[in-house]
Every structure is written in C-alpha cells, then in structure tokens.
C-alpha cells in the first residue's frame, strides 16, 4: 500500500517540475500577452516578435521604438522590408538576406552574424497594413534626426496624420536645430496642424492662415474636419471668424490644386502621346514612307520587349543598366528580323497591298506562336530599374512619374534622331529618292532593293526600341503587339502618311484628347469617341492632317 503512494508523490513532483520548466521555457521564448505597461528589455521585445497576433506586434513595435536602443531603427526598417524571420526550431529572431533558397542570417537583437541557413528553416515575421502604418510612424519618429534631409522631410510629413501635443513639442525642439528649409516648412506645417486644436483662438486663426499655402492632402483633411466640427456646434462670433478663415484658406488651396490638376492632366496626355509616338514612328517609316501595310509591326514591339527580358535574364545583377543595354540590342535584333522579313517575303509583294497585309498578318501569328513555344505562353516579369520607378515630386499636389517622364524624353530623342537620319544623311537621301521615284533613283545608281531592306529594317528596329519602353509600362507577353497595332495605325493615318511631323502631331493630339475625355466618359467610351472622331476626320481629309503634297504624293 505504501509503495504506490510514494511513487505517486515522486511522479507528481516530477510532473510539477516539468510543468515549471516548460512554463519557464515558454515564458522565455514566447512571452504571454503583452500589455502596454509591461516592462521589457530590448532583447525580450525582439524575441517576442514571434507572436502570431498583429495587435501584439503593434505594441511590441511601439515599445521597441521607445527603448531608443541603437538597433531599434535597423530592426523596424528590416521588419518593414520583410527581412525579419525566426528560426523554426529555436524561435530565434533573425534578420535574413535570402538568395537562392539560402539565407544569410544575423541575430536581430545583437547584430551578430550567424552564417548561412536553408530558407526552409525560417519563418517570416508577417506584417499587415496596420502594422506597416505603425512601423512607418515609428521609423519616422526615429529618423527625425537622420543625416539625410529628404529622410527628415518625409519623417516630418509622416507625422501629419498623427499629431498630438507631445509630438508637437518634439517637433518644436527639432525646429530649433533644423537648417534645411524644406524640412523646416514640413515641420512648421505639422505643428500648425496640431495648433488647429489649440484652445487659444488666436493660435487657431494663425495656424489656419499659415496652412493656406500648404498643398498636402492631410492639411485639407484637417481643415475640413475642423470646419465640420465648428459648423455642427452653435455659432459664436469667434467660431464665425474661424469658419471664414477656414473657408478662405480652403478656397486658396483648392484653386492652386485645380491648376496643378490641369498640369497633371496635360502631362498624362503628353505621356500617352509619347507612347503612341514611339509605337507609331516605326510604322510611319514602313507604312508611311514605304507604303507597306505591316501587320507584324506589333510583333516587332513584342520582340523588343522580350529582348529587354532576355537581357535582364542574362545580367541579373545589373538591372540598373539593363534598359540602356537593351535599347541598342533590341534595335539591332528587331532590325535584323525586319530585314529578314523584307528579304524573305515582302519584296515579292510590292505593289500588292492586300497580299502584303495577309502575308504580314501571317508573319505576326508565326512570331507570336514562336514566342509562346520558345519562351512561355505566360507573361514575363521585367523589372523596372530604381531610377525609373517612383515619381518626381514638384509639390504635394503635383508629382510626375519617372518612367513616363523618361519615356517622353526618349520618344522625342528617337523622333529627332530619325529626322536627322532621313534628312541629313546619305542613307536618308537614298530613302527619300527611292520612295519618291523608284525608277529614277535606280537610274541614278541607287541599289533600290537594299535601300528597301534597310528602310524596313530601320522601321522594325525603331519598333524594337519602342518595345523596350513598353516593357516598363505593361505586360511582356506574346499578345503585347496586338494591343498596340490598331493604335499605331490610327496615329499614322491621322497624322498623315509619310510625314514624321504628322506622326508627332497625331500622337500628341490623340494622347491629350484621350486624357481630357476620360474623366467625363470613362476609359471605355473615351477610346470609342476618339475612334469616331478619327473616322469623321478621315472623311474630311483622307490623307490625314499633314498630307504630302506634290507629284510624289500621288503614287
């Protein structure tokens, strides 16, 4: 009778020991519910990031920021970049750089390098949008004293949404040491936003007036909020005065926002126009100058875009320059394909436009299927280099996206280069001679068949570099060309066949018209309306806006 009892006691004590140990262990690696008052050290906080609950993570992030530990900023920004992981076995939180399923890890709380590990053994510390906002704010608070002025400015702007008296005091302290005028203005705006809620009437009026020059959307929101709050209460002379001041400020802001909106719309139009110009200018040569109805033009764009993809595949570590390398490569490659098509098919069909149309349409199908078979039927990812992503912020109400900006410049350079080539070079002279009077040019000793081949190659090559530009804007897939072929014919016909200035004019007009119609009619109807206008226009002027005049035009 006694023995079993002893055993039970022994077992019990063992059991409790295990319980105690395990609770200690879990307490160490996976802290239980964390509340706002919990006192925790930096390394404990980092270790508890393994929790699955997002609201817990939010508290941890705030606490990490409050520790003002030297590694706080590193951890928070790595967390935002999705580079913070924990090891599946011992739950150690690490920062990992992953390449080819292998991760180079460092201890998150100490920064000590821990060598390489298989990616499979790691689990990511996930974040959601709410956490991203918390992180952005925390990072902003930590980087108000950054050495880079643009970082300091965006940190101040980040504060706009979350102003309170405490933050305002911090910002005022910053203001005393800040030298950069952009940062100073952002800090002042933030402080003014907070002053809108000040109990002192004069301060309110002062800040409303100060904010009337600011174009930040947060400022408008803050002013409108105050307006709503005031007008819902009983009116006093003081609140009347405030409402008037708000009204004046809002009007001032909105009128300048309206102007910038117009500028932005024109920019959108020009940028759409420059894309149209790029895709049409090659066709302006093959169709406009040579008179070949080239249905495979779209596929030349596609081949150019795929050249970019292949270049990026070959040079995975030089994405920054890949576009610059792609431009000449795509030009040469699609140019050669163009010469091949001209020599192989089109030269037998000169003077028979219907057959040319059918033959080139066939070629376009062959090229599409070739890409599907050789590469993939799926769209391919072409990355955008850093210098082409993001936007140039002129002011908070107007920013121009870099990729569009570069494409506008690029389109104009291509057009200028082409004009120089056609008007100033010997080759250009020959092209013009051949297109104006073939037999006379032949009599003068020009090898017309080679001029034809090179002209077609030139047109195709330019389509190729347009494809490089398109790869930065849209999907790179076998159907890329089909989406643009109609547009490019439209531009060339509208602008006037055989005239590069006409192509420029046509592209820009269509681009801007489209963008002005879109807000009223929607994207679907805008396209239709533009098409109808062109049809009506062609009825009036069958040769387009700038028709070639003279004897040569009648051929």
């Amino acid at each position: 009778m006694e023995r079993p009892f002893i055993i039970t006691i022994k077992m019990l004590s063992k059991f409790t020991l295990i319980l105690l140990l395990s609770s200690l262990l879990t307490g160490f690696s996976l802290a239980e519910e964390i509340n706002n008052d919990a006192e925790m050290s930096f390394s404990e906080l980092v270790a508890s990031l393994t929790t699955k609950k997002f609201d817990q993570k939010a508290i941890i992030i705030k606490k990490i920021r409050q520790t003002e530990h030297q590694r706080s900023l590193t951890i928070l920004s790595k967390l935002l970049d999705g580079k913070v992981y924990y090891k599946k076995d011992d739950k150690l939180v690490v920062i990992a750089d992953i390449e080819n399923k292998k991760a180079t890890i460092t201890n998150a709380s100490t920064g000590e390098p821990l060598g390489e590990i298989a990616k499979k053994k790691l689990k990511k510390v996930g974040i959601n949008n709410k956490l991203r906002r918390t992180l952005n704010l925390s990072i902003a608070q930590l980087s108000l004293a950054d050495t880079d002025a643009t970082v300091r400015k965006s940190a101040a702007v980040e504060m706009f949404k979350n102003m309170d008296d405490e933050t305002s005091i911090i910002l005022k302290q910053r203001l005393t040491v800040e030298k950069n005028k952009h940062v100073i203005s952002a800090l002042q705006t933030a402080i003014s936003i907070n002053q809108l809620n000040s109990p002192i009437h004069e301060e309110k009026i002062e800040s409303i007036k100060a904010l009337s020059d600011s174009l930040y959307p947060e400022v408008r929101v803050a002013l409108k909020d105050l307006e709503k709050k005031l007008s819902s209460k009983t009116q006093t002379p003081k609140s009347q005065e405030l409402l008037h001041a708000i009204d004046a400020s809002l009007k001032k802001i909105e009128s300048s926002v309206g102007i910038y909106k117009q500028i932005e719309n024109i920019f959108f139009g020009i940028s759409l126009g420059s894309v149209l110009l790029l895709i049409a200018v090659g066709l302006a040569i093959t169709f406009g100058v040579m008179g070949v109805i080239n249905m495979a033009h779209g596929e030349m764009l596609m081949l150019g875009a795929y050249t970019t993809y292949i270049i990026q595949l070959l040079l995975p570590n030089h994405i920054e320059y890949s576009i610059l390398i792609s431009i000449p490569t795509a030009f040469v490659f699609t140019g050669l394909v163009g010469i091949g098509i001209e020599r192989g098919v089109i030269r037998f069909l000169y003077g028979r436009p219907l057959e040319t149309l059918l033959a080139t349409f066939g070629i376009s199908l062959i090229l599409q299927q070739a890409v599907r078979t050789l590469i993939s039927p799926q769209n391919r990812a072409v990355s955008t280099p850093d210098w082409m992503s993001g936007s140039l912020e002129i002011n908070p109400a107007l920013s121009l996206t870099y990729n569009r900006l570069y494409i506008i410049i690029f389109a104009l350079i291509v057009l200028a280069g082409l004009m120089l080539l056609l008007n100033k070079s010997k080759f250009g002279l020959q092209v013009r001679a051949v297109t104006q009077n073939r037999s006379m040019a032949k009599a003068m000793g020009i090898r017309t068949d080679w001029v034809d081949a090179f002209t077609f190659g030139l047109g195709s090559g330019i389509a190729g570099i347009a494809g490089v530009a398109l790869s930065q804007l849209t999907n790179v897939g076998p159907n890329l060309g089909q989406a643009y072929i109609i547009d490019s014919f439209m531009v060339v016909v509208f602008g006037g066949v055989g005239n590069l200035w006409g192509t420029l004019f046509g592209a820009m007009t269509l681009g801007i018209a489209n963008k002005y119609l879109e807000p009223f009619t929607g994207a679907v109807l805008a396209k239709i309306v533009v098409l109808v206008i062109i049809i009506l226009f062609i009825q009036k002027r069958p040769r387009g806006m700038f028709a070639l005049k003279g004897r040569s035009a009648d051929n």
């Binding site: 997002f54 999705g82 990511k124 996930g126 974040i127 959601n128 949008n129 709410k130 991203r132 906002r133 952005n136 959307p217 408008r220 929101v221 409108k224 909020d225 909106k261 932005e264 719309n265 959108f268 940028s271 759409l272 894309v275 039927p377 799926q378 769209n379 391919r380 990812a381 072409v382 990355s383 955008t384 992503s389 993001g390 936007s391 920013s399 996206t401 870099y402 990729n403 569009r404 804007l473 849209t474 999907n475 897939g477 159907n479 989406a483 963008k515 879109e518 807000p519 929607g522 994207a523 679907v524 396209k527």
Partner: protein, 425 residues
C-alpha cells in the same frame, strides 16, 4: 475536311473499343482547356485532377476498381466545351466530369450535362445566380468572397469605396451586388466610385490619379478590384509609381492569386489584398501534404498552389466519398449521397456540401508579400455557406435553391410565388 472527320471517327472508334475492353475501370472526364488563352490557368487544374486520380488509385481505387482519366481539350473555345462534354458522356461514358473555368464555358455545357444527366464539378469562383441539378459548384459564390472582403475593410474603418473592374459580365454583376450591399450598410452614394476599363487596359495614369484624389477626402478609402488578369500589372505598377501605397489606399482583388503572381515582380504590390477560400500559406497538415504531393507530381519545387486547385481537391474527395457511400457511380445515386458530406479542407477546417450544390467554406483575406505569396491577415470565424442566389439584389433575394427538399427540388424556387421558374438551372 472529309479526311479529318474520317480520322476522328476512327480515333473515337478506337477509344470506344479500348474503353469497352477495360470496362472494369471508373472513368473520370477532365474538361479543361489545354490550348488557347485559358490554357495558362486550366492546365494546372487538369494536372491536379490527374494527381488526385493517381493518389486514389494508389490507395486502391474506388469500389474495387481503378480510376481512369479521360482528358479532352476544348481549346478555350466555348461552343467546343459543349461538344466535348457530349463526347465525354456519350462516347467515353465517363462517370463524372471535372472542368470549365470561365462562366461562359460553364453556361455552354449546362444544357448538355443536364440533357444527358451527367455530373460536373466546377472549381472556380464565379458570379453566382445559378444552381443546376447536375453541377456541383466548389468555387466561391459572391457571398464567400466579395461580401466578406468588403466586411473586412469596413471593420478596418474604410468609408469610401472605389469599385474598379474590367468591362464584362463578372465585374458588372459583382459590382452590382456590392453596390447594393454597401448602400444597405449606410454608405452614401457620394462615397462610391465605380469605374470600368477595357480588357488589357494599360494606361492607368488618369484613373489612379482620380482614385488618389477620391481617397484624399479625409475618409479612409479602399479599392475593390475585379480587374481581369492582364490589366493588373500596369495597374499596380502605376499605383506604386504614383506613390499610392497599400497603407493609404489598399486594393482588394478577387482574381489575383498565387498562380497569377508567379512571374510578376511583386515588390510594388506588397500589402495589397486578395480574398479567397485558400492560400498556399495556410497552415495545416493537409495543406503541407498537398503542396508536397503537388510539387513532387509536377516535378518542380517552385510550383505554387492556388484556390481553384483546392476547390478541385475538395470536389474530387467529396465525389470519391459519395461514390463509396452510394456503392455505385450512377449519377442519381451519387448526387443525394453528396449532400451534407464533410471533407477536411486544406486550410484546417471542414468543407460541407449543401443542398443548393454550393460548399460551406471559410473565407480568407491575404496580403501580398514580396515573394509572391499571401500572408493571411483575416479569416471568417467558421465556414460560410455558399449562396447560389444573392440576398442583396431584390430580384434574386426571393429565390432559393434546394435539391434535397422534395417540396422544392429546384435550383431557382421563388419563395413568394411558391413556384420553380421552370428553367432547369
């Protein structure tokens, strides 16, 4: 042409002969496009069915017989779907069919599968407003995808809504339902912006700028996107370039999944949302097994899994179990055995087949990560019952579908007039 038809007759005869020679197998028809525009998505589902058949055969088949796949290619050609369906049932005498992706292909096979009393499992999320006696819908109905996604955003404080879609049937129907739902929830007309764009739209500058302005009115704004496949990449790129981040204005999409994201640079998309019933990232033992089996079957460690694959998986498992219970593959006996069947789904719960031929499944919201996967940020507490007819359109709210209740036994029973509309689906 004559030569061709002679050949096809010969081929069919050969297949018919070979199939009659081994009649002790159970035949499973696979009706997914293997060529044409839809091949990208549908080939994956064909492979999923083949994998499931292989697994089932390894486990001893069904009713002591081996399963045999009959794969046909409807080539993304909608009328051809109907012809191939007829061929599967009449010539190959298949016992069940897994197939279709687009709504138009499903509508095209409906009359055939009903006339010949076949059994079709349809694995893709769709616009609802349908319930056929001969079809089991294992994808999501609008109340299992669109409505919970809106609820999630509403809980997050969103008050202004942009409904952006490609201009065709699915987005228009879904947006109609969503608009009615939002108004019911007290959202003001001024706070809803609806925008349609053509297929493959690539110039998003104005629209994104408009959304940005619409979103800067002080109320939290979200975009509910029914934008179709291809147009998504330039859309998200423009969002990134104009500095509209997911923290400011999140975009929740209904047709962007793991498969669509593979091969896209997802860095500018991080934080944007998608609503599905399954994500590859879901943590459950079944899911780990499924992913491992899939990657081994396809021989590629980087292949992803997605929601329609899970729907195919659930459909296949349910059918196999119903056949076992019924003891036969006869459609009229298998169908009643399907009702109330419970199968563990891949996200850690159970999927239940309802008498309206739609599943009860959990709804998940995921945020896009930079590795092309989704981080699950929210899920419904339990399973949501698929609703064939939406409750938020007045003309559909009265209609119910129930194929088990002898008093109704209809796919579109009007509860007010107490009548079945007579149309079969």
């Amino acid at each position: 042409m004559k030569k061709l038809s002679l050949w096809s007759v010969l081929c069919v005869a050969m297949i018919a002969w070979s199939s009659s020679a081994f009649s002790d197998t159970i035949k499973v028809g696979v009706l997914h496009s293997l060529s044409g525009t839809m091949a990208i998505s549908e080939t994956t589902l064909k492979d999923t069915v083949l994998m499931m058949i292989e697994e089932q055969n390894k486990a001893g088949g069904l009713l002591g017989k081996q399963l045999e796949a009959v794969v046909v290619d409807p080539a993304s050609d909608w009328p051809l779907f109907a012809e191939k369906m007829r061929e599967l049932i009449e010539v190959h005498k298949v016992d069940v069919i897994f197939g279709c992706w687009t709504s138009v292909s499903r509508k095209s096979v409906l009359p055939v599968v009903e006339e010949l009393n076949g059994l079709l499992f349809y694995p893709v999320q769709y616009e609802g407003e349908e319930s056929s006696k001969n079809v089991f819908y294992t994808g999501a109905a609008p109340n299992q995808q669109a409505i919970p996604a809106v609820d999630y955003l509403m809980d997050g404080g969103v008050e202004r809504w942009v409904l952006a879609g490609t201009d065709y049937v699915y987005p228009r129907t879904t947006n109609k339902i969503l608009e009615a739902y939002l108004k019911l929830k007290g959202v003001d007309e001024k706070d809803i912006m609806i925008n349609y764009t053509p297929f493959g739209h690539s110039d998003w500058q104005t629209i994104v700028s408009d959304i940005k302005q619409f979103g800067s009115a002080g109320k939290k704004t979200a975009v509910v996107s029914t934008i179709n496949g291809d147009a998504n990449v330039p859309f998200y790129k423009e969002l990134g370039n104009q500095g509209m981040s997911a923290e400011d204005i999140p975009v929740v999409a209904f047709s962007v999944g793991e498969e669509e994201l593979s091969g896209i640079d997802t860095a500018p998309l991080v934080g944007h949302l998608a609503a599905w019933n399954y994500f590859q990232n879901a943590e459950s033992e079944e899911n780990d097994k499924f992913i491992e089996a899939w990657q081994a079957f396809i021989g590629n460690e980087d292949r992803v899994t997605n929601d329609p694959m899970e729907a195919t998986y659930i459909g296949f498992k349910m059918w196999a179990q119903a056949v076992t219970t019924a003891g036969t593959t006869e459609v009229d006996k298998v169908r009643p055995a399907m009702y109330g069947l419970e199968i563990p789904n891949l996200t850690g719960g159970t999927a239940v087949m309802n008498t309206n031929h739609h599943l009860s499944k959990p709804v998940l919201i995921g945020e896009i990560q930079d590795d092309g996967q989704f981080e699950i940020v929210w899920s419904t507490d339990g399973e949501v019952k698929g609703d064939a007819w939406t409750d938020y359109l007045p003309e559909s709210a009265l209609i119910v579908s129930d194929w088990a209740d002898p008093a109704i036994n209809c796919g579109n029973y009007n509860t007010e007039t107490k009548k079945c509309s007579g149309q079969n689906y």
